[in-house]
Assembly symmetry: C2
Homo-oligomer: 290 residues x 2
């Protein structure tokens, strides 16, 4: 497996592959790979002739005071893991390679970027959309792979791809969890042992919500209250948001119907974690309808 | 020559050409082609195996009350002219093909879009950058051709291409003028015979400015005053803006030095016309230094 640090090198790799008629799968990551990322790499391996994993901690999607500086980085480990999962190349540019001067150009996806994580992280999805656009232009893959853990990001990127007529298929794959339910995240490494235990409140409160909805509850406020109560029972946890929205347009719902995204962000001490579940309900579902 | 109306058709045309190892040149236009457009088509013909001309009056770059509805359209004439200049295909989508639903995604180029035409046409360059991004993703050309007549547009697109790592070379070609100096524009068709004569004030005042600068003048306010005086001498003309800026970053200059863009927009009755000239001066030029 090859590790490239410059745009011209990875472009040459892709050009040679395309010249042989090969298809390209791209897995864009910020590195510090876990099994969630590797599930994307494995799927890309099945569906493409060549698999490129990008590893780039993108300053544009971090706000002031966020964890850009201390975000975990370990390219040697990432390269070994990517190779093990079937990657042909890792593209790991420095910030100066991606942003030789501050970008004046941004890609915005209005209406999908402002709520949920966007409310506490203004500019975050503008940074994500812009860097994904850059990476897609650099690698020009046939398919690009993202995780459902970042549900809002997946929605933003899918919409950007449709609106801008990208010639890349956007593939979203399910959340990968630890055996006890914690959604895998590079930021889990920030957790203390007590925090690691407390962090189970994210997945457990989402499981609770799913059970309540399975039992017939369709009132969003009631479901939300149950989740907030569940999180509040954990002293180390503080709710950032609990959102019950339509999975496609991220608009808040009063009653649960259709494809419903229940998404939350919770601070465990100072570590901000996210998790979500998508429920496929009848469009016209009412209390007790199931 | 082929005329395509759908994205899938033009993509298939491009895919087949690329499969034969052919290069693609794209000339994005709003149609009602004139010799300025055709100079782009001819250059694209020289530099590429296949030439695509897009004809699309993009609603996204028109403000409320602007001339989107009455912008001149004549696809039959455009197709014949494009074919005559060497185009292999015209891509002429309907609005519903390009925007099946209102786009949530926009491409913005901050710092280059707000002044000059952007001041009187807020949102214009966001609309331009977004549709150009879409067209580039649809056609994925090796080269795309634009005219220097739209100087600010050229600067915005060049910067977008650099910032977003587009794999398309942006080629900017000189203004083409009528024999009496009027810059060619699809909007010249709006002019009455009296307006057509009055419109000469744009190019003549720019020629006057060039002569003053040739004579050694480097004070931007003095040059600007001379241009405004020249335009004001024409009763049918009303200045929208006269800008003296650095050609690359569009920042206003107090003194003329380096690559200087002198750009103006003038209303002739209700018809808004633009024109510009770029002067290559010594970086440290002072009064009488030449």
């Amino acid at each position: 497996m090859k590790v490239f640090h410059t745009i011209s090198e990875i472009r040459e790799f892709v050009r040679a592959a395309k010249g042989r008629g090969e298809s390209i799968g791209l897995v864009p990551t910020m590195g510090y790979l876990h099994d969630g990322h590797l599930s994307l790499v494995r799927r890309a391996r099945e569906e493409n002739d060549r698999v490129v994993v990008s590893v780039f901690v993108n300053p544009l999607q971090f706000g002031p005071g966020e964890d850009f500086e201390r975000y975990p980085r370990d390219l040697g480990r990432d390269s070994a893991l990517a190779a093990g999962a079937g990657a042909d190349a890792v593209f790991a540019p420095e910030v100066a390679e991606m942003y030789p001067e501050p970008t004046l150009t941004h890609v915005t996806v209005d209406g999908l970027s402002e709520g949920l994580c966007g409310a506490s992280r203004p500019g975050h999805f503008r940074g994500v959309a812009t860097v994904v656009m850059k990476l897609l232009n650099i690698v020009s893959p046939n398919r690009a792979y993202f995780g459902q853990k970042d549900a809002q990001q997946a929605t933003v990127i899918r919409r950007m791809a449709a609106d801008l007529n990208l010639d890349t298929s956007i593939v979203i794959l399910p959340i990968v969890r630890e055996s006890d339910g914690l959604a895998m995240s590079s930021r889990n490494v920030y957790l203390t042992p007590e925090g690691r235990r407390a962090a189970l409140v994210l997945s457990s409160s989402l499981r609770l919500a799913s059970e309540i909805v399975d039992g017939g509850e369709r009132d969003a406020a009631s479901v939300r209250r149950a989740i907030v109560a569940g999180i509040s029972a954990e002293p180390m946890a503080r709710v950032d948001y609990v959102a019950i929205v339509h999975a496609d347009n991220l608009k808040p719902l009063d009653r649960l119907a259709g494809r419903v995204l229940i998404a939350l962000a919770v601070f465990i001490d100072k570590v901000r974690l996210i998790d979500n579940v998508v429920l496929d309900l009848d469009e016209s579902a009412a209390d007790g309808a199931r």
